[in-house]
């Protein structure tokens, strides 16, 4: 810093000038780098930021397993997994652009603050050139914003809120996971086909942003097919006992209960609803039904028997028979002894997609990576032909409608795929009102 004689007047003046949009120093002013954390040596560092404590710790652990597997495959160890089925052949199993892939891990604690602190330390201390992971939308949006400012790429993990690629979308952020709108669009026709179009739905919704977008999406999709929405009730996050929200359902003429809950809330609300005999009820001459729009196999275990026969949607399931899924399940299962979760799948795929984009672009520069990923079409990663849309950095691919399995053969065999909804049916316009209000901005290379 230069020594200048700063008078009060001059400080105020310079402040006003700077405030008016002076070119500000960027996060890292060390001149040697062309962009943030440009990998200089023989290795490149990726940051895996997953929940290791708190309610989603198991999901985080599964994500981490997938990342380690992906790193092995990228570095040419193991059986190569989905690298063999991936439509792009830019990756050669010698790391990324010949640099060995190294990684650091951190704990998001499923809190925006902790997640950003952890991501920051990866960027500032460990020189990570890409951050990925997470198991909730709040964290995804928060970390995505940070990566945009810091000039690194963010490859979202499990995040289902419309906002991640809607009003909070960022040029440096990419989401492979599906979203609430897609859940609604995929689920509604199946619901209409099985339960009829003359249904009255009662919504219980976790009272935070993800819950709201989920509720909005599924309500719009079902109403379009003739369903009525009787009531939408917000429940506190982590309510524990949902009895006082479920008994009012009994008093209405609703014949479907939609639980816009995830994780522990989903387990508890579903368990409570079944306890109160909702599934044995007949209303308006129809069997009462429960729907869980977003299913997670890991969490579903907590609900035990109660999920049998319940419809929901999921991003991916290990029982898929396509070549890519099979290859992934095989290498994951061989290494860890159990099948991967949808969170593990999306994280594995995101890592591969990032590496591939770097390889195709020939550079780690975030702007080059963004360019390589935008509008990129690929196949062989488990969900059929997929498009990374340029307008909002959301993947468009088939969505699975699943149902709790009646006769599971093992503790992992909880869901069965009812229908694979084609990508075209869940595609929406980039300016769809549920996604309005944000802008990608420009890619930031630091």
């Amino acid at each position: 810093m230069t020594k200048t004689d700063l008078t009060r007047r001059r400080v105020l003046k310079s402040g006003a000038v700077a405030g008016a949009g002076l070119a500000l120093p960027t996060m890292f002013t060390s001149g040697a780098y062309a962009f943030t954390n440009e990998p200089m040596g023989g290795t490149v560092t990726l940051g895996f930021n997953v929940p290791q404590s708190g309610p989603y710790a198991d999901e985080g652990a599964d994500e981490l397993r997938a990342y380690q597997l992906a790193v092995e495959h990228l570095n040419g160890e193991g059986d190569g997994g989905m690298l063999n089925t991936f439509s792009s052949k830019a990756l050669e199993g010698n790391g990324i652009l010949g640099k060995k892939v190294d990684y650091v891990t951190g704990d998001t604690q499923t809190k925006s603050d902790a997640a950003r602190a952890s991501a920051k330390s990866m960027i500032e201390k460990d020189g990570a050139v890409m951050i990925t992971g997470g198991s909730s939308s709040g964290v995804a949006v928060a970390v995505q914003g940070l990566c945009q400012e810091a000039g690194v790429i963010f490859m979202a993990g499990l995040t289902h809120s419309n906002d991640t690629t809607g009003k909070d979308k960022k040029a440096n952020g990419f989401r492979h996971f599906f979203n609430a709108y897609m859940s609604g669009a995929a689920l509604a026709p199946v619901l209409a086909a099985r339960y009829g179009t003359d249904r009255k739905a009662y919504h219980l919704t976790a009272d935070y942003t993800w819950g709201w977008t989920q509720e909005e999406s599924i309500a719009a999709a079902t109403e379009a097919l003739g369903w009525q929405t009787v009531n939408k009730v917000r429940t506190p996050l982590g309510a524990g006992d949902f009895s006082s929200y479920i008994t009012p359902v009994l008093q209405t003429d609703a014949d479907v209960l939609i639980l816009n809950h995830y994780g522990g809330d989903m387990v508890n609300s579903l368990t409570n609803a079944v306890q109160f005999g909702l599934r044995d009820k007949m209303v308006n001459g129809k069997q009462f039904e429960i729907v869980v729009p977003l299913f997670s196999r890991l969490m579903a275990r907590g609900a035990g028997e109660n999920i049998k026969g319940i419809l929901g949607s999921t991003n991916w399931h290990w029982s898929l028979t396509d070549e890519g899924s099979q290859a992934f399940v095989k290498s994951f299962g061989t290494k860890y002894g159990f099948p991967p979760s949808q969170a593990a799948h999306t994280c594995y795929v995101q890592t591969l997609l990032y590496a591939d984009a770097v390889a195709r672009a020939g550079s780690f520069n975030p702007c080059a990576v963004v360019e390589a990923l935008e509008g990129y079409e690929f196949d062989g990663l488990g969900n059929g032909p997929t498009l990374y849309r340029a307008e909002d950095h959301q993947c468009f691919k088939d969505v699975l409608v699943v149902r709790g399995k009646e006769n599971p053969t093992s503790e992992f065999d909880l869901l069965e795929v009812v229908e694979i909804t084609p990508a075209a049916q869940v595609t929406y316009a980039p300016d769809h009102p549920m996604f309005a209000g944000g802008a990608l901005g420009e890619c930031n290379a630091g």
Binding site: G21, M27, A61, L64, S112, A117, S121, A142
Partner: protein, 413 residues
């Protein structure tokens, strides 16, 4: 006692100078291991962690003004931290990215909240006071997470957007978000110096926090030594006796509550200034608990203790949580295979996903063996080194005479 221009006695001046030295050289002191070495994992000299330590140091020092002096244990101080953050981010959104107005507003708003909550809560004492503050803070948290989302952006946290007005900054230029700055100097700009095989990062934001932390610390020293501080100690030792002498303790405790609330607001504002995102999680009861724990861990009632406690907890959280099995594998690869697996298994329980365990064990060990907190440990260490019976600074004693008498607790009427 002779006092210098700062209004401090020589001992305190020396103390303050040590603090200034430690703070300003943090980027060097926290980077003791050469880059690339196995132990580089333990380096904490990167901007985010240093900022967090300074900020939570301020938070804990402020909390200690209330708890350490008056003995009133607030379990809702994180609410003021959160409110401060929201206020600051709103200022960045509406007025200017210059951090000064944001931080000032943060202090004012949280001061107002503290006055209101303090006025009500201080009508009760002891555990009843603690639960009242806890209830207020939990209400703030729950509302911020759900109903007040238009104001707080709920789960995601309040953040900057491209189309915020920012009246003073003029029209938005380009399509990337502006950064927080102080009169044009960006908070996130850093100057990196490579020397002695280490990379030292001198970050504007950290030095900004550091200067404010030193100021906050200085104010705290003055407060501890002032007649007002004396009054607060009187509140702690015996309120009844104080009332008999014709003094009303209420205004003093309320003032202490508001001051410490403003410290929390300042910390919240700084958090937002370093990283313009304010999440509701900052107000959760565990966050309130964290500052209580920081203060006790370091040494309640001492000046330096809370800062030390804040540093230790933030360091553990950020450094230990990142040591995964891969890192452990690198460290212990020299061991024979069987032994290595066992050693890694043991260490893995305390690092990475097990970092909470380290935290819990640290709490238990410190409180069991160092009743006065970490500062007590340092003192014992120092006196052992000097090998003499050093006279203690009476103000830095955890003052045993003022601790609740165990007999009183169980006594009924």
């Amino acid at each position: 006692m002779k006092k210098n221009i700062l209004g401090l006695n020589p001992k305190d001046t020396k103390f303050l100078l040590i603090v200034v030295f430690l703070t300003l050289f943090t980027p060097i002191l926290l980077q003791p291991f050469a880059a690339g070495s196995e132990l580089a994992q333990f380096n904490g000299g990167y901007p985010d962690l240093m900022q967090k330590i300074a900020i939570f140091g301020i938070f804990a020092v402020g909390f200690n003004i209330l708890f350490g002096l008056t003995g009133y244990l607030s379990f809702g101080h994180a609410a003021f931290l959160g409110i401060g953050s929201y206020a600051a981010v709103w200022m960045f959104k509406l007025l200017t990215m210059n951090v000064i107005p944001g931080i000032l507003l943060a202090m004012v708003v949280s001061g107002l909240f503290a006055a209101a909550i303090g006025y009500v809560s201080l009508r009760r004492s002891g555990i009843y006071f603690s639960i009242l503050t806890l209830a207020f803070a939990q209400m703030c948290y729950k509302m911020a997470y759900s109903v007040l989302t238009p104001l707080t952006n709920g789960e995601t946290g309040l953040q900057l957007t491209l189309n915020d007005p920012r009246i003073l900054d003029g029209a938005q230029q380009g399509s990337s978000l502006p950064v927080t700055n102080i009169f044009g100097l960006a908070m996130n700009s850093s100057y990196k110096v490579e020397a002695l095989g280490r990379v030292f990062t001198f970050n504007v934001g950290f030095y900004f926090c550091a200067v404010i932390a030193i100021l906050a610390f200085y104010v705290a020293i003055r407060l501890f030594r002032s007649p007002f501080g004396m009054m607060l100690r009187a509140v702690k030792s015996n309120q009844q006796r104080m009332t008999y002498t014709g003094l009303d303790p209420k205004p003093y405790t309320l003032a202490a509550f508001v001051i410490s609330g403003m410290y929390a607001g300042l910390a919240g504002g700084l958090l937002a200034a370093m990283d313009p995102l304010a999440g509701a999680d900052r107000m959760l009861w565990t966050a309130s608990g964290e500052v209580v724990i920081m203060t006790i861990l370091g040494g309640a009632g001492t000046l330096m203790g809370p800062v030390l406690g804040a540093g230790v907890i933030k360091y553990l959280e950020n450094i230990f949580s990142k040591i995964n099995e891969g890192v452990l594998h690198d460290w212990f690869s020299f061991l024979p295979d069987g032994v290595e697996d066992v050693v890694i298994w043991v260490f893995a329980r305390f690092t990475g996903e097990g970092w909470h365990l380290t935290l819990g064990v640290t709490f238990m060990l410190v409180v069991t063996f160092l009743p006065g907190g970490l500062i007590e440990g340092l003192k014992r260490l120092a006196s052992r080194i000097r090998n003499g019976s050093q006279k203690r600074d009476k103000y830095d004693d955890p003052d045993p005479e003022h601790r609740p008498d165990p007999g009183k607790r169980v006594a009924g009427e």
